[in-house]
Amino acid sequence: MFHAAIIDPLKSKKKINLIRAEKFIKNYDAGASIFFVGNIRKNNNNKNVSGVAYDAFDRLVIKTFKKIYSEGIKKFKLKKAKVFIEHAKGYVPLGKPSIIIAVSCKHRSEAYKLSRYLIEQIKIRAPIWKKEYYKNQKSEWLKGTSIRIK
């Protein structure tokens, strides 16, 4: 089972939270649950960060999340895994979560592997962009990874 969403304050009042994630991945066949939460940290490249604004190509993000999930299930030969992924869009202040990935699997080793696989692939494949805002009132788009095909 799989759930993915972009949480956009312009479209809904919903916020990223672990309660929804925990409910979704609850699974009596699973002996292991892993919750990965990505938060806005206060320092990046020696700059004092006050928040990050995310832009996303929603439709393609969801398609990419699904593809990465399917690949992970196949790669680690999982049968009863449940996966919940939500990513924030818009401004996220310091200390708040930008992404939650929750995974439940039969055993811990596969839960760790799947969770790690999902976040690492999302970082390099999902069309999401970050603009960092700093305490000195400046801001900049982060460089990112090119997905251009030649």
């Binding site: 962009w129 990112g144 251009r148």
Partner: protein, 89 residues
Amino acid sequence: MKIKIKLFGNCKDIFRASVLQINFAKSTKVKNIRNKLIEIIEKKYSSNKAYKDLIKKSAFCSERDEIVNDTYVLNKDKMISIIPPIGGG
């Protein structure tokens, strides 16, 4: 032929829009759209190298939500999205 280009991330700031519309005389390839965007940057920002490099590194996504290369042809009024280097999480 009118092509709409949906912009994301830094491209929204560079072109100060969410969607650009560019006219081409006939069917065109992604390569020509990329070159046209570089041309706009050259005029608007006196050849800002960082912006031009961003366009060179960007991918393009078709209306079918598939990443396409520079040889992809748009042959009637269509929308295409430019995907600058990504970095979520």
